[in-house]
């Protein structure tokens, strides 16, 4: 039998339907792979082997009984450990929630369960999704499967590494400022941030409510599209959930993969996100992908988004402000860590302060204090209020840009994966500026995708596409077109260039 861990999710699903292999075999193969390599990658915080095999066995039994199953039934999935999973420890990679076993499930986890997708486990992330390297995890870093001295990106670094290391065929991540797209770029995989509200946030541990969005991750655009259809849909538990139909993503990806699909498509290259500030190798890989797309019939147009120059700044006001409020509930009173002060009186107040001092890592504290400041009386208008206005400007720039382009494109990140430990040496603002290309989509609520563009000095480079709000379908169609054209030129997928672990 072929190595089941190397197949795409859709091929696995087709194989099960054809009776070539069972969900139990597929799930076991991935659990074996996790056993073999996860010590090296550190992609998972928790592996749920028994539960995964139980779900797989149930799906196999139901399939044998002739039941109508979800198309992805039996295909295993990994959830970022920010998704609340009833009965399965959910940590947000923080000491604060170590050992917390939730009494309820997030909507996206419920959706994958209802589809009959075995849960392989919970993947590593930066603490409460704050970071771009997955090094800010209380449970240790995740290594990049391309080069284990490099980071996998973040905050959904575990989710991306699990895909690139063939530990999981599908991953659920979250993206607040690029946390799905940037790790996808750093690992040669596909990551999508859907339109804000496309996927429910209920039961997803909040970082910044107005920016957070759950995103599907896979090794192919079509796999991500298929997972998006499972995750999406209106949820009455989330007031910001859209009522739009969440279908047609996979069909769009399949249409896009057909040859000639890029003909006449207008790709708008965002001037502010290319050239200066982008590593030469990254720029070269991006330019090459553009050339390939152009050769396939795409039209390249130049796009100016002046407000993007303020996007990172606005993000680093809005995000910490919401963080400071969303993370207030972690106080040692109702769940999670409780720490008593070493000296002085033991009161609710001092225990809260000691718990939060011990439970949160440095980056989380930095953002909470920054957000507390930005919301303070006397500063609100200058900081939070002004940043919300920049959001309006970003939306206006995008609306204008989409008049002349079908999608907007840029390198997903200005660099390839950094060395483990390098981020610690950088000042926070320089590190934050690495999110320059991904943040505008979160500010404006539009969908974004990273597909592999190529390789620079042995590391993958991501190609980002942005579409108008509620036009996620367009991303899948054009994203699959780029993917097919790049793979065609290379003769294989970008991930095939990764060395064996």
């Amino acid at each position: 039998m072929a190595d089941l861990t190397r197949l795409s999710a859709l091929d696995l699903a087709a194989g099960m339907r054809a009776g070539d292999y069972s969900s139990t075999e597929i799930t076991q193969a991935h659990l074996d792979r996790i056993s073999a390599v996860d010590e090296t990658t550190g992609a998972f915080i928790t592996v749920t082997a028994d539960a995964a095999l139980a779900t797989a066995a149930d799906v196999d039994r139901r399939r044998a009984a002739g039941e109508t199953l979800h198309p992805l039934a039996g295909v295993p999935v990994a959830h970022k450990d920010l998704i609340v999973t009833e009965g399965v420890a959910t940590t947000a990679a923080s000491k604060m929630l170590e050992g917390w076993v939730p009494p309820y499930s997030g909507t996206v986890y419920r959706h994958t369960q209802e589809a009959g997708m075995p849960l392989l486990g919970k993947t590593n992330l930066d603490e409460f999704a704050m970071g771009a390297t997955t090094e800010n995890s209380a449970f240790g870093p995740t290594a990049n499967p391309w080069d284990t001295t490099k980071v996998p990106g973040g905050s959904s670094g575990g989710a991306a590494a699990a895909l690139a290391a063939y530990e999981a065929p599908l991953s659920v991540g979250t993206d607040t400022g690029g946390s799905v797209r940037q790790p996808a770029a750093f690992t040669g995989t596909v990551g999508v941030k859907p339109t804000y509200g496309s996927v429910s946030r209920y039961g997803v541990i909040a970082m910044a409510s107005s920016l957070d969005q759950v995103g599907p991750m896979g090794r192919t655009v079509a796999d991500a599209a298929a997972l998006h259809e499972v995750l999406a849909g209106h949820d009455p538990h989330d007031s910001t959930s859209l009522t739009d139909q969440a279908t047609g993503f996979l069909a769009a990806a399949e249409a896009g993969a057909a040859s000639g699909s890029l003909a006449g498509k207008r790709l708008g290259v965002i001037r502010q996100l290319t050239g200066e500030g982008v590593e030469p190798g990254v720029q070269a890989a991006f330019d090459e992908a553009l050339t390939i797309a152009e050769a396939a019939g795409a039209e390249i147009v130049d796009i100016d988004c002046p407000s993007f120059s303020y996007a990172v700044e606005a993000y680093y006001l809005i995000m910490p402000s919401e963080v400071s409020s969303n993370l207030a509930r972690y106080d040692g009173m109702r769940y999670g860590l409780r720490v008593e002060p070493e000296e002085g009186p033991v009161t609710a107040e001092t225990v809260m302060a000691a718990t939060r001092a011990a439970g949160f890592g440095a980056e989380v504290k930095r953002r909470i204090i920054l957000g507390t400041y930005a919301l303070s009386a006397g500063y609100y208008d200058a900081y939070y209020g002004s940043a919300q206005k920049v959001r309006t400007l970003v939306q206006r720039d995008l609306a204008k840009a989409f008049e002349t382009a079908d999608v907007l494109v840029s390198p997903t990140a200005p660099t390839t994966a950094f060395d483990l430990g390098a981020a610690k040496e950088m000042d926070p603002m320089s590190l934050y500026l690495g999110d320059v290309a991904t943040i505008p989509a979160n500010l404006a609520g539009v969908p974004g995708m990273s597909v592999p563009a190529g390789v620079a000095e042995g590391l993958p480079v991501g190609f980002q596409l942005l579409a108008p709000a509620r036009e996620d379908v367009r991303l899948y169609e054009i994203g699959a077109g780029i993917e097919a054209a790049v793979n065609d030129t290379r003769g294989a997928g970008v991930l095939a260039a990764a060395p064996e672990l």
Binding site: G197, Q388, K389, A469
Partner: protein
Amino acid sequence: MSQTSAITAAEVSHLADLARIALTDEEQAALTGDLNAILSSVAAVQEVATDDVPATSHPIALSNVMRPDSVGETLTADEALSGAPASEDGKFLVPQILGED
């Protein structure tokens, strides 16, 4: 960096009190530096946030999302207390509370 945006260590200490985080002296010093660096950069948003630009609080504008007033599924007390660091008589046990409002 403009003088007006500089944050002092004392202000950081006050913010940490508001945010209920007991900072060590080293953390306080480091954060004071970080915050000043970050704020001197992010303050740039004020350059373009002119009066004629409306604020956007939700990326996709919706309104009147409401639910009918009917009872749904609840947690049991055991489930509610399952993660509690301490409990007694079906309630969450917390350290003595000072300064009741």
